[in-house]
Subunit: 336 residues, 2 copies
């Protein structure tokens, strides 16, 4: 099983390759992760040397290019693509590693995962699914942006996959699933939502009904499903409000003086840590045959470290196997 | 012109009729607003008496019933409806007043406004449009929840109406209009968004392109348009994140001690005031022939006072007339 190696795109994100390298060395040292870096071998070695980092524990697979974040996602699957992302995806598809982490273009990663690594049998669409911080505990949001137009059965699949992830990776037993909607009643929303509600009720999942957006920050459910357009709006507003309020808290506090700061600093730190996406790792691309993690574009070494840890947990929890088994059980139940 | 009276539903919202009465008396005293309250006359008088409030300056038009928030919105237009909301809408339609304020059911208010007061000629849909607080100044969001399925031309109408409102009522010259979308490029989003983008570019409005949800709290544009489903998700997440962070700020501050509190209290108050929907009034129902303001369901007397002031500003700025003129100019330009 390829020794459960984790492949990491060394040239994805704003802070590549230095922060990627630092995060991977940390993961190698502290978690014992076996890591393959993809990307320009000479550049990786030069960067490590210049920064005095020992990368002896990391394997490197060379790739000439970097996938340009501004390129059309479909470029990733063109023959001859030799970007660090495409090479990483091919290694994953060929079984040379057990999971892949990249902070590159989400569109390209979804496209490449779909056509190079392939989807789990029966799964219609891949859904990038971040785990978001909330008051009573974090929750997974699917789809957070890949599929702008969805059919009701896709939302049910997102719910199945999200439940498996929250249980196997995040350790939440029997996770509560909710449909993001504009009211509590099952008659609310678009045709998509009304139909998805009915299907979710019959899914055998722990479906608790609709959730209104205002209740998301409470963290009372563990999986929130919606189409990729709505999910992307919700995700980015969640992040944007987080930044806005962080800024405001700093501003408010700038007047509190040293004595006030002494009393509150610990709490501010705790709150920031709770709301920091870097602590979570990245968005898992649910539906791919093997774990693929999209790290945030602005990831630093800590975020990459956590993304590798997240990939490790996906492997250990056999999330893709669980989803595959669930979907095939559903399919045979439907045949009966 | 009916002396520009403002009709107020005395029995809408969680705190009716007491907070409605208090807010209206304050508006009458401080703004010189001429107010007609609709609702059970005996109950209004009893409530005022019990609370020692002089309502001599308010006119009352009796209505037997209250529209039940759990009723189907269409009940509002059934013949014989004698709820405080329906009576208010009929007074407005009949020219007995120049604007209407209610904190009752949004669905019923949209339905009643559409069929009793009617839409502005040429306007396809009514859009409840709150003005939301943001860092550099507030912005209007349309549609915030009435029309879950929209056509591209409806979004353009929301933009036209929102621009007129921000200019005439909020005093923002040449307001910037943006389309809520999942990326900056004009090719992003659903068919609805791609098509609406093209139409907005040709609209003659100050259209600045797509806005991603994470940039909403920055307040760099004054009008944000989207369909009513997405708008409702965005609105409620905006409110929900606001409550969540307010709670967190209190929690953080509970450790700052009295000295820290002394330094920061002013800033906390300023921030809370900036983020408080009560300061804004309510959501204007854009597209109705006369100004209709939906006050928040949990409005207190200050929120009602501000909603009356907002109604007054709509009358003074002749917002509905401006929209009507704009739409008819557009229609004749299209004929040429």
């Amino acid at each position: 099983m390829a020794d459960n190696k984790i492949i990491v795109d060394a040239f994805g994100g704003d802070n590549a390759p230095l922060e990627v390298i630092k995060g991977c060395v940390k993961a190698s040292n502290e978690l014992g992760a076996k890591i393959i870096l993809t990307g320009d071998s000479a550049k990786i070695k030069k960067c490590a040397e210049e920064n005095g980092i020992d990368i002896g524990s990391l394997e490197i697979v060379h790739a000439d290019d970097v996938f340009d974040i501004h390129d059309e996602p479909k470029e990733i699957i063109k023959s001859g693509s030799n970007s660090s992302m495409a090479v990483g995806l091919k290694l994953l598809a060929d079984g040379k590693g057990s999971a892949f982490v990249s902070a590159g273009s989400t569109g390209a990663l979804v496209m490449g995962s779909t056509f190079i690594v392939k989807r789990i049998k029966g799964i219609k669409r891949i859904a990038p699914s971040p785990v978001l911080p909330a008051d009573k505990g974090s929750f997974l949001l699917a789809d957070a942006g890949a599929n702008t137009e969805c059919r009701p059965e896709m939302l049910v699949q997102f719910a199945i996959m999200g439940s498996a992830y929250m249980e196997k990776v995040m350790g939440k037993k029997n996770p509560k699933v909710a449909l993001l909607n504009i009211g509590a009643e099952e008659t609310k929303g678009r045709d998509l939502d009304i139909e998805a509600y009915k299907l979710l009720e019959r899914s055998g999942l722990n479906f608790v009904g609709n959730i209104e957006a205002r209740d998301m920050p409470k963290g009372e459910v563990q999986v929130v499903v919606t189409d990729g357009f709505t999910g992307n709006i919700a995700l980015k507003l969640y992040e944007g409000m987080g930044s806005f309020f962080s800024k405001k808290i700093r501003w408010i506090f700038s007047g509190a003086g040293k004595i006030g700061a002494l009393f509150s600093l610990g709490k501010i730190r705790e709150f920031r840590k709770q709301m920091d996406y870097k602590e979570v790792g990245g968005s898992v691309l649910l539906g791919v045959r093997k774990p693929v993690i999209k790290a945030h574009g602005s990831s630093d070494s800590l975020a990459f470290f956590n993304a590798v840890r997240q990939a490790q947990k996906c492997i250990d929890g056999n999330v893709t196997g669980e989803i595959e088994a669930y979907v095939s059980r559903l399919a045979s139940a439907e045949k009966e």
